[in-house]
């Protein structure tokens, strides 16, 4: 992936509405300085003549913090306090609000929000500052170099004025391609632990509007009765019982034939009517495999030679080295399907304006996806489609599907009507748990050879599972030489220097749709790498921390990973667990960040375990909002541990067996007693934080549990006799 930072050009404009200053980047990267409002303008900073500053946030907020983080960057550079700035979510326009790490695509994912916005938003804030200062300097007849903006006041050389006074005049000045960015020594907000989230106040009193809260005049609520097995189609349906439900409007088969859309006046009516609908399914071509079939296929692939030799190693040579090693540690792992289950079930609302434009109200993680899909569904040009990005009640990846699944469902349900009434598509929890797009099932088989001194001499690693990217619109972007990197990330690019490593990959059939799930391939690769590292260390008779450090001897990547490992070990009191407790450790790099975690637990296999404490150390570059970082690590750890302990999606004859939280149990408040997070001081550019807390959590837990005499190689833990006390 490449950034487009070098092509950046800046421009400004005065909005048609009057004294509003926009500062941003033009789509084609060219310099432009038109004073007229320009559709191609890319405003990140909006200031009105009253001095109200608004950061235009191009990443959606699912709790991971960009509404605070990107706003922080603008506030810092411009020179306003966090109380003097608010935020709005950007409209859908990939030509200006694209994710710089995704190319011409607007979207949030891969823990990139801060990483790709860091320079872009600072530069936009700095340009706004410089233009305002130049306007003030001209008015006051002094050199702009003598002025700064502090707390919203333009000050210097004995002068002071609120920045709002110069908003109109600032538009006379051209933005710079390289405005002066504030030196880190000047930072007042970046790195400050006391900064509070911008979205907290509206999330504690019911004011926050999620997509689920959209209530348009005259809207219909649509729920869809979907095929119980992937690939099934509607043969016929009988809605006579549904018609008895008060508020039922109509039922129609979707054009895809994969379900029946039930339209009603209210959500409750839609739920009841859908339950009353009788559908006769044609399952002749439907998926009918069970979880055991998926597992059998993966295990068989692990026993055969891999289809792809990922690191171009000499497999025969590595095998023979391992075979001839003094000690061999061997383990076969299996990871089940997992659902994301964000708190807010999937939903979106679609309407047509009087001008014939289409408006989608959505917690839109990748607006470009539905934007493109709607051009096809409605036969409209891009500028006739608008996406109102709303707060999202979690996602963990689920709101970003390459085929824009739920937005397309809403579009199809709407296009089948006369479009006089808005359509709100609502999924319930059962739809969510059974709706596919799971973390794929994967298996790993690893054989590690150690010499007499306990040093690794060979590492044969086979991976088999369901490729996330293949067969999707992201294939061209993410698959190289047949290898879906997301299947092997965290192994192929690990900062460990492991001698004699062979990495093979075989894709297996997808019996259900699969998708990235918080930390994508790292969900399984970190587990395997870190459990194997522990097993190898113990076979070598070495301390797991010291053993790992021996393979992290280089500079840069390895050094930073080692730094996180050492800090977590130090802060956790590694090796000094309280009586009756055991510790496990893991460290992993993902999304550019390095996270180490120590799990300390008490209890035993008979009575259950208690996770007393998790101590984490994270190096994610410059910590823009330290408290948001800590929150993401806390949540990331718990997300990993919760699923590892007891969750899996299983199929029986192609049908999903779980249906709601009682059988897909979320982590509960009592499951982890304490999480303590330490941030490694860094001057490097910020990297990911939404996902990197998750990968090391399950292996750190497994490595602690291993000391209770069960090495869990097949998740969830519950299937291995491990449960919470």
């Amino acid at each position: 992936m490449t950034t487009q930072l070098s092509r950046r050009g800046f421009l400004k404009t005065a909005a048609a509405a009057g004294a509003v200053l926009y500062v941003g980047v033009q789509a084609d990267g060219a310099m432009a300085a038109s004073k007229s409002a320009n559709a191609l303008l890319n405003p990140f900073v909006k200031i009105d003549s009253d001095g109200n500053v608004i950061a235009i946030v191009k990443h959606f907020e699912m709790g991971q913090g960009p509404a605070t983080g990107l706003t922080t960057l603008v506030a810092e550079e411009l020179g306003v306090s966090m109380d003097q700035i608010s935020y709005e979510f950007a409209p859908s326009d990939a030509s200006v609000y694209n994710n710089l790490l995704f190319g011409p695509f607007q979207g949030t994912g891969g823990s990139t929000a801060m990483a790709n916005s860091w320079m872009q938003y600072r530069t936009a804030g700095a340009n706004a500052r410089e233009m305002l200062i130049k306007a003030a300097a001209r008015d006051w007849g002094i050199d702009a170099a003598e002025l700064d903006i502090q707390n919203g006041q333009i000050i210097g050389a004995g002068n002071a004025a609120p920045l709002g006074e110069f908003v109109t005049a600032a538009a006379d000045f051209a933005p710079s391609e390289t405005p002066r960015l504030r030196d880190p020594s000047e930072w007042k907000i970046i790195g400050k632990a006391s900064t509070r989230r911008k979205d907290s106040p509206i999330k504690i009193n019911g004011e926050a509007k999620f997509a689920m809260d959209v209530q348009l005049d005259n809207q219909m609520v649509v729920m869809i009765k979907r095929t119980p097995q992937r690939g099934g189609t509607v043969a016929s349906f009988d809605d006579s019982a549904a018609r008895e439900v008060k508020g039922f409007i109509m039922a129609q088969t979707l054009p895809t034939n994969h379900g029946v859309a039930v339209y009603a006046e209210t959500t409750w009516a839609a739920m009841q009517a859908r339950n009353a609908l009788n559908v006769d399914w044609d399952l002749s071509a439907a998926e009918n495999r069970s979880s055991q079939d998926i597992r059998d296929e993966i295990m068989a692939a692990l026993d055969a030679d891999p289809v792809f030799n990922v690191n171009q190693a000499d497999l025969a040579s590595v095998r023979s080295t391992v075979d001839g090693a003094a000690k061999v540690v061997e383990k076969t792992f299996y990871f089940p399907l997992l659902a994301h289950a964000p708190m807010e079930p999937l939903n979106c609302t679609i309407e047509q304006t009087e001008e014939g434009d289409i408006v989608l109200h959505d917690g839109a993680q990748m607006p470009t996806g539905p934007h493109m899909a709607y051009q096809q569904i409605f036969g409209l040009p891009a500028d006739k489609i608008h996406i109102n990005t709303m707060l999202a009640g979690g996602s963990f990846g689920r709101r970003a599907t390459p085929d824009a699944d739920y937005q397309v469902e809403a579009g199809l349900a709407f296009v089948m009507t006369d479009r006089s009434r808005p359509v709100k598509l609502v999924w319930d929890r059962e739809d969510d748990i059974r709706g596919g797009y799971y973390r794929p099932a994967f298996g790993h088989k690893v054989r590690v050879g150690l010499d007499e001194a306990g040093t690794i001499v060979g590492w044969e690693h086979q991976v088999a599972g369901q490729s996330i990217m293949k067969g999707t619109s992201f294939e061209g972007f993410a698959v190289r030489d047949g290898i879906d990197h997301s299947s092997v990330e965290g192994i192929a690019d690990s900062p460990y220097t492991i001698p004699g490593q062979a990495l093979g990959l075989t894709d297996t059939e997808k019996a259900t749709s699969v998708l990235w799930w918080r930390s994508v391939g790292h969900t399984h690769t970190a587990y395997v790498m870190e459990v194997m590292m522990d097993l190898a260390a113990r076979a070598a008779g070495k301390d797991p921390v010291e053993f790992r450090l021996a393979y992290l001897t280089g500079e840069g990547d390895a050094e930073r990973k080692a730094g996180a490992l050492k800090l977590a070990a130090e802060k956790a009191g590694w090796g000094n667990a309280a009586p009756g407790r055991v510790q496990g450790i893991a460290v992993h790099k993902s999304f550019g960040s390095y996270v180490a975690e120590v799990v300390e637990l008490s209890g035993n296999l008979d009575d259950g375990i208690v996770i007393e404490k998790v101590t984490a150390a994270v190096d994610c570059g410059i910590a823009v909002n330290p408290d948001v970082i800590k929150a993401q690590i806390e949540g990331g750890i718990a997300y990993g541990i919760g699923h590892a302990m007891r969750d899996q999606i299983t199929l029986d004859g192609g049908a999903v067996e779980q249906s709601n939280f009682p059988d897909y149990e979320p982590l509960r408040i009592s499951d982890i007693k304490e999480i303590e997070t330490h941030i490694v001081a860094s001057a490097e550019a910020p990297t990911g934080i939404g996902e990197p807390g998750t990968p090391p959590s399950a292996p750190a837990l497994a490595n602690a549990i291993a000391q209770l005499d069960v090495v869990v190689a097949e998740l969830p833990m519950a299937e291995n006799g491990v449960s919470f006390a």
């Binding site: 709790g63 999620f210 409750w268 708190m343 949540g635 939280f661 408040i669």
Partner: protein, 154 residues
């Protein structure tokens, strides 16, 4: 059928069939969107409201059973002494992430503090067990309840 209910101190007439969950009356009829739908089976707590001051899951509370009750939702919590303290603690600690479950968390937390002014961490874990947070803001929820107790004591 027409039913009159008392919600947030107001008497409101609603049109709902018997068997309609209070959740959907609150959200779809009364347009009070702060109370959330998460699971529909009383397994996540996102829909928690107060019925005569006690937390209940509104997705499993039926409209015909609340005619004589006082219903309170998150929208009214700022006016409640305990509710305001919990909200203050939530802001101090930045408990929220996505925020979708937090109305329910706060309604439960208020219920706990009314019952037990000085809860321990274990009390919080036990009482709040049924309120799921998929972002796992749990340790801040726990700390938030304990902090709210301090605020109330001051």
């Amino acid at each position: 059928m027409a039913i009159s209910i008392n919600i947030n101190g107001e008497q409101r007439d609603v049109d709902a069939e018997p068997g309609t969950p209070l959740l959907w009356v609150i959200r779809d009829e009364l347009k009070l969107a702060g109370t959330k739908f998460g699971c529909g089976v009383a397994s996540c707590g996102a829909c928690t409201v107060h019925l005569n001051g006690e937390p209940v899951r509104s997705c499993q509370t039926y409209i015909e059973d609340v005619e004589d009750a006082e219903i309170t939702t998150i929208e009214k919590m700022a006016e409640d002494r305990v509710g305001a303290a919990v909200q203050q603690a939530w802001l101090e600690l930045d408990v929220v992430q996505c925020g979708y479950c937090q109305s329910g968390q706060i309604m439960s937390a208020v219920g706990l503090l009314r019952e037990n002014a000085k809860p321990t961490a274990e009390d919080v874990d036990e009482y709040m067990y049924g309120n799921a947070c998929r972002c796992a803001t749990y340790q801040r929820i726990r700390a938030g309840v304990l902090r709210a107790a301090e605020i109330l004591e001051a």
